[in-house]
């Protein structure tokens, strides 16, 4: 495989749809990074910091297929909606698929878990007081 063709066009489109869907359902800003991640966790946190003012509402999902590592970093406000346990659950879903060789499916599963838990809550009852 030549450098630069890690994903097919359809795979990239599926991932963009997943990110877009997670953004819409949570109101947060998701960023997916797939590739060699310098510095591991610190590198992922630096990516979050580079978002500037919007960093607090951002969720970074960084996957390094070569190092077989995954980092999920949530900004301060984002972490109130998507806590560390949810991130661990998403990471478990993702790494399970990655172990089976399904990179795209794993990323989509993880984004789905994160967006489900970070979804904007809708009141389903009428206040009676």
């Amino acid at each position: 495989m030549q450098p630069g063709d890690g994903f097919t066009r359809s795979q990239r489109s599926l991932l963009a749809q997943s990110v877009e869907s997670a953004d819409r359902s949570t109101g947060l800003s998701f960023q997916l990074v797939v590739g060699s991640l310098e510095g591991g966790r610190a590198g992922a946190e630096a990516l979050l910091a580079a978002r500037g003012a919007s960093a607090t509402d951002t969720v970074i999902v960084a996957v390094d297929p070569v190092a077989r590592s995954l980092e999920i970093v949530t900004g301060v406000r984002a972490s109130r909606r998507i806590d560390d346990r949810t991130c661990a659950l998403a990471a478990l879903a993702m790494t399970s698929s990655f172990s089976a060789g399904d990179l795209v499916g794993g990323i989509r599963n993880g984004l789905q878990v994160l967006s489900d838990h970070g979804r904007n809550s809708v009141p389903r009852h009428i206040a009676t007081t």
Binding site: G6, L15, A22, D23, V34, A46, L47, L70, D84, L103
Partner: protein
Amino acid sequence: MASNLSLRTRTAAVAALTAASAVALAGPARAESTAPMPGSASDSVMTTGQALAVFVGIPLIVIALVYLLVAAPGWTRSGRADSTAAWTGDPVVIAGSGDAARAVSGSADGAPPALGSTGAGTEAVSGEAGGTSAAW
């Protein structure tokens, strides 16, 4: 999805399909051989070439067909089993509509960006970032 099936599953599926086809076709063939038509050439002797074709050629064709059906999906990238191990692509960054729906690979000049070396603005986060780390 069919492309996500393992090699063993695909092999089993193709072998089962082939066996079922053989059984289905063997019934009529056997019925014909047990009740030869009057004047038919059922007692004629098979030549060496015909015997080779039937007992060697046809099995070889079947084996080649099964191998082709099993191996062909793996020749395409979508059918390849382990896409994580095969990754040699440039870094890919995909962000949602909050970032103008950009889905970029590498930088504008064609060189891949060094992920983790982000430049300015690294001190912009206030408070503790959450999240988790994992490996597989």
